[in-house]
């Protein structure tokens, strides 16, 4: 199997693209927010800091996921480096899997670094190890993998700029899919109804991956829920990868 060398090379590429700067920005945001909110929030500054930190991780994580996802295969195709690779005994499915793994690793690595920084800051403020926050972050990680996979899929069909827009839209719409049944029932034209229904059945419910309020407020969350949600996310990511393989297999790389 040639997946791993390809993944490693992609990972190395992202690292050399200095994606780590993103992490520095993140740390700034969290620390600054902690200082800022102290004056604003009447003894809620710790909650606010955690909320801001977790949300900032999502925002930056999503940006990294979409960027690396849409970049990984389109860059390979646009710069024709794919020719050199496919001339070797590399199956197209291996190529897609390697690229997904590489982009996924980049995204998760980025998230991991942010997590460490964030947990240290919270630990200092709370004077205790805030490992319970990991429950929220693990789900964010799975959500990011869905976005990586979707970005890769879009980029097998569309140019990078358009794929980026689609992936961002997926993220946004995925978080309001629970509004869709309402929209379907209220829709006036049959067209809207159909489109909303298609979206409802096709798109992942990304709100599943948002247990941040519950985690920050220290609610008990059953492990089974977290595990099922992770499986749900991995299934969606797998669907994206499978579709990407399908497209890449039928594609001409002239």
């Amino acid at each position: 199997m040639n997946i791993w060398p390809i993944a490693q090379s992609s990972f190395k590429e992202s690292m050399r693209q200095k994606i780590l700067y993103v992490i520095v920005i993140f740390s700034f945001i969290t620390i600054l927010s902690a200082l800022l909110y102290k004056t604003l929030a009447i003894n809620q500054e710790v909650k606010l800091m955690k909320d801001v930190g977790l949300a900032a991780m999502v925002v930056l994580g999503v940006l990294v996921a979409i960027f690396t996802g849409t970049n990984s295969i389109s860059r390979e195709i646009d710069s024709k480096t794919i020719h050199t690779l496919l001339a070797k005994p590399v199956k197209r499915s291996e190529f897609v899997l390697g690229k997904f793994l590489g982009a996924g690793l980049t995204t998760l690595f980025n998230l991991a670094i942010m997590t460490i920084g964030f947990l240290i800051i919270v630990a200092i403020v709370e004077k205790g190890a805030p490992f319970y926050l990991l429950k929220a972050i693990v789900l964010t990680a799975v959500e990011l993998l869905i976005l990586v996979s979707a970005s890769i899929f879009f980029s097998t069909i569309f140019p990078q700029a358009i794929s980026t827009i689609f992936a961002l839209l997926l993220f946004l719409v995925g978080h309001v899919t629970n509004l869709l049944p309402y929209l379907i029932s209220k829709a006036e034209t049959i067209g809207t109804k159909i489109i909303a229904s298609i979206f409802y059945y096709l798109l992942p419910n990304l709100q599943y991956f948002n247990l941040r309020a519950e985690v920050v407020n220290n609610l008990s969350i059953p492990v089974s829920l977290i595990l099922l949600t992770i499986i749900y996310g991995i299934l969606y990511a797998a669907i994206g990868v499978v579709l990407s393989i399908f497209v890449i297999r039928g594609k001409d790389f002239a």
């Binding site: 609610l219 749900y232 499978v242």
Partner: protein, 238 residues
């Protein structure tokens, strides 16, 4: 044939299997969420997953708003209620928001205060005792609705860390609501279990007062006897 299937058939097959797996999983996720009370209301404010952040921003805005109004009239009351309602829609576990909203509205808009605090109780199975307690205050002192106050106080006393004065308030509420016998039992319990002397004294005074009231004017003979016996019992122990 075999080869062609392997090349082109396997991918659609994987796709179908994955899609078929999705539905039962999402249904079980929904189930667990419902059972655990983790289901969110369909929120009117679009937030794309950034619900807590939005709640925090509205919280900060609410605090600034509260700092800027001299007095709460009906208009402000409605605004404040709306603000905290939105905040807690976005972050249903934001206990401080229920508390602050409830406290702010407790005097002038007691009903709104109660409805906000009750929302907190519904959204959080193990909410801290202060939330039902605040609701009971509004009901007790401002609405003089003792039955309503009892309802909240009963929730508050279930919290293991609730302070003893809640028990006394509940006993009083029972008395005022007309549940004399229940109130008597409660005062007796409080008297027995009091940890501090002043608490014992307080309980004693209330017990004596209630017993005498029952003996003098209560129509129920059995209850009168019970009160007499209790009074005696308490006095002997002292």
């Amino acid at each position: 044939m075999n080869k062609i299937f392997f090349k082109w058939g396997i991918i659609p097959l994987c796709f179908i299997v994955l899609v078929l797996l999705l539905k039962p999983i999402s249904l079980s996720i929904d189930d667990i969420r419902r059972i655990q009370g983790l289901e969110r209301a369909v929120v009117a404010t679009p937030n794309f997953g950034f619900d807590t952040i939005l709640a925090d921003i509205l919280w900060v805005k609410a605090i600034q708003y509260l700092g800027g109004i001299p007095k709460i009239t009906e208009v402000e009351g409605a605004v404040i209620y709306k603000m905290f309602d939105r905040i807690t829609d976005l972050d249903p576990q934001f206990t401080e928001a229920y508390k602050l909203g409830g406290l702010t509205l407790s005097v002038e808009e007691s009903e709104k205060a109660i409805s906000l605090l009750e929302k907190g109780i519904i959204n959080n199975k193990n909410i801290e005792w202060t939330v039902p307690y605040y609701a009971s205050i509004s009901a007790f002192f401002h609405l003089k609705d003792y039955k309503e106050a009892m309802r909240f106080l009963e929730i508050a006393v279930k919290a293991p860390d609730h302070p003893p004065h809640i028990d006394r308030l509940l006993a009083t509420a029972n008395n005022l609501a007309g549940y004399k016998e229940l109130s008597l039992d409660m005062w007796q319990d409080i008297y027995k279990n009091a940890a501090q002397n002043y608490e014992k004294d307080l309980a004693y005074k209330n017990l004596v007062k209630l017993s005498e009231e029952i003996i003098q004017s209560h129509p129920d003979k059995d209850l009168k006897e019970k009160a007499k016996a209790m009074l005696k019992d308490v006095e002997i122990k002292r």
